[in-house]
């Protein structure tokens, strides 16, 4: 056996170095993936509903073996739009939801503007009425669909669309169809449109599937903490939590009486507070940065982060914008300060106060980095 000479050792070292780099990168990425408890907390999904989504995704292969790509995030995206994760309802340990979640009566009467008529199929068993059909449960199944798609997700021997586990598994089965590959965007689109045939619905569900997926895989970093000037900006804004929204209100020194008026005539003259750009103007003034007056103008300062880069590209302290046309900065109408965990602090609208909330899914127009 030949001894490895110096040249051979050098070559071996050069070959092994990238291998170690790849292994290190993989390990580092895994460490960035948050635990599900954190994901649930930052995403605002109630823990019991998140458990139902995860359980359904885990059971799905036994129901539709050919289906690929069914994840808790897909189910969460659908449930977000169908029922906001059963918001305002109680969920027992076994997954039962009370009071029952019932959609409008679909008897062609025009409830909510819809004139589609669905004949009654369940005699009121699931939807409480025999005069027509209502969508039921956290995933808003039509009773007729539930008859063929319903599953027993919690193993209690019943298939109940008002049970979180049963409904989640039934939704997973329905979305998978005859064995869709949901990692293929076009097939995911088809699945969602089959669920509810509306482009608005499709866009809304996809935006939340993407948001939840990115929180789950670490693309949107969680448990990030601002430091330095970013921390100063954020802390300044946090000290204004609860201060009323005031049209035209806020300057570099703090909340002020606003001006008259918003386009519809809402006046800020009697309200000491902030409007959206006044809050950001104040917060950044604490680190010596003087922002322009309006949200659209503030988007012209600093390094622009395009909407296409996603929420995951934002860092705590960045300005975050919202527009009627995300491709046109001139249509920007709102600004907040990004906190991390897909959250922002902002003065949202007349009648509200400075508060923290999820970065809006509607009209996201990227951010700006000034720090």
């Amino acid at each position: 056996m030949k001894k490895l000479g110096c040249a051979g050792l050098t070559v071996l070292g050069l070959l092994l170095t990238p291998v170690f780099l790849v292994l290190f990168a993989t390990a580092a990425h895994k460490q960035d993936t948050p635990d599900m408890q954190t994901v649930g907390k930052v995403s605002g999904i109630p823990a019991r509903m998140l458990t139902a989504y995860q359980s359904a995704a885990a059971q799905l292969p036994g129901q539709v073996p050919k289906c690929k790509g069914m994840t808790w995030a897909v189910l969460a995206g659908v449930a977000k739009i169908e029922s906001d994760h059963a918001a305002g309802h109680k969920i027992t340990d076994n997954g039962d939801i009370t009071p029952h979640i019932l959609g409008p009566l679909l008897n062609g009467s025009g409830a909510g503007g819809n004139r589609t008529s669905f004949p009654d199929t369940d005699g009121g068993k699931w939807d409480g009425t025999a005069s027509g059909e209502r969508a039921v449960g956290p995933f808003q199944f039509l009773p007729s669909t539930w008859e063929s798609t319903g599953r027993d997700g919690n193993g209690d021997g019943t298939k109940d669309p008002h049970n979180a586990d049963d409904a989640a598994l039934g939704a997973a089965v329905y979305l998978c169809g005859n064995g869709r590959n949901l990692t293929d965007r076009s097939q995911l689109d088809a699945a969602i449109l089959q669920y509810n045939h509306s482009q608005a619905y499709l866009a809304d569900v996809l935006s939340w599937i993407d948001r939840y997926s990115q929180l789950g895989d670490g693309t949107i970093r969680t448990n990030t903490h601002a430091t330095g000037t970013a921390a100063t900006v954020i802390n300044a804004a946090f000290k204004q939590l609860g201060v009323p929204y005031s049209w035209g209100g806020g300057d570099s020194n703090g909340p002020t009486k606003g001006t008259c008026c918003s386009p519809s005539g809402k006046s800020g003259t009697s309200i000491t507070g902030f409007d959206c750009s006044g809050l950001t103007l104040y917060a950044y003034a604490q680190v010596g940065i003087n922002l322009p007056e309006t949200a659209a103008e503030q988007a012209g300062i600093g390094k622009r982060i395009p909407a296409s880069a996603g929420v995951g590209a934002l860092q705590p302290g960045d300005l975050v914008f919202f527009a009627y046309d995300s491709s046109s900065d001139s249509t920007i109408h709102h600004v907040g300060i990004y906190l991390g965990d897909s959250m922002m602090i902002n003065a949202p609208r007349p009648g509200t106060s400075v508060r923290t909330e999820q970065v809006w899914d509607q009209g996201y127009a990227g951010g700006a980095r000034l720090l």
Partner: protein
């Protein structure tokens, strides 16, 4: 023990070195932060029970409303100041301002791109796009466009929808293709009410009739 040391020829170590370099670059690339695309399509659509009699319910707009918005001002070098008087009403829309504030959104949309259709034709296209979008999100009226909507029912419609503003622009310079860009408000199936939602409807003209296309 073999004492014969063999100095590799340059060509025999070149390939391993090249491979090592490529793998090193790959490893360093993987260590860089990545930013996934959100994949959020702004294309939004939704609808309301009450079809607007005209997409533009705003007060008459001045000819200057079609001028492009001035570029944002950079003011980082200005000294700290109190805020000037708020921008004049009708220029800066705000979320949650209600129907009375929709005209400000109309102005912002109109200023976002140069108009390239006669005003009357643009109004007609916006009205058509609005009806199609209402059908898209409430299900009402879909039978007018069976090819576009198919037979799939809408079992969880959006509710209390109104079109807040709309513009129409030709696409690709063709006089027979237009994109209607709408801003709308409505309540999703879960009951979450939001305004300032974006939507687009693509139209094509054939035999003098405009039809929606996907």
């Amino acid at each position: 023990m073999n004492n014969n040391t063999h100095i590799p020829r340059l060509t025999s170590i070149a390939w391993p070195l090249l491979l090592g370099t490529v793998l090193t670059v790959l490893g360093l690339t993987l260590l860089r932060p990545t930013h996934a695309r959100v994949g959020q399509d702004v294309a939004a659509p939704s609808s309301s029970a009450a079809l607007p009699t005209a997409a533009r319910t705003a007060p008459p707009l001045s000819p200057t409303s079609r001028m492009a918005m001035p570029p944002p001002k950079a003011s980082a070098s200005l000294p700290p100041r109190s805020r000037a008087a708020a921008p004049s009403a009708g220029v800066v829309p705000v979320t949650g301002d209600g129907p009375g504030g929709d005209y400000a959104i109309q102005q912002v949309l109109e200023s976002s791109s140069p108009a390239n259709l006669p005003r009357a034709e643009e109004n007609q296209l916006v009205a058509l796009g609005s009806r199609i979008w209402l059908a898209e999100v409430t299900g009402t009226g879909r039978d007018r466009w069976p090819t576009y909507f198919g037979n799939e029912p809408l079992h969880t419609p959006y509710r209390d929808v109104r079109i807040q503003a709309g513009i129409a622009r030709t696409v690709g310079g063709s006089p027979d293709r237009a994109r209607v860009r709408l801003v709308w408000a409505g309540e999703d199936p879960a009951g979450e009410a939001e305004d300032g939602r974006s939507a687009q409807v693509l139209l094509t003209r054939s035999h003098a009739a405009w039809q929606p296309i996907r």
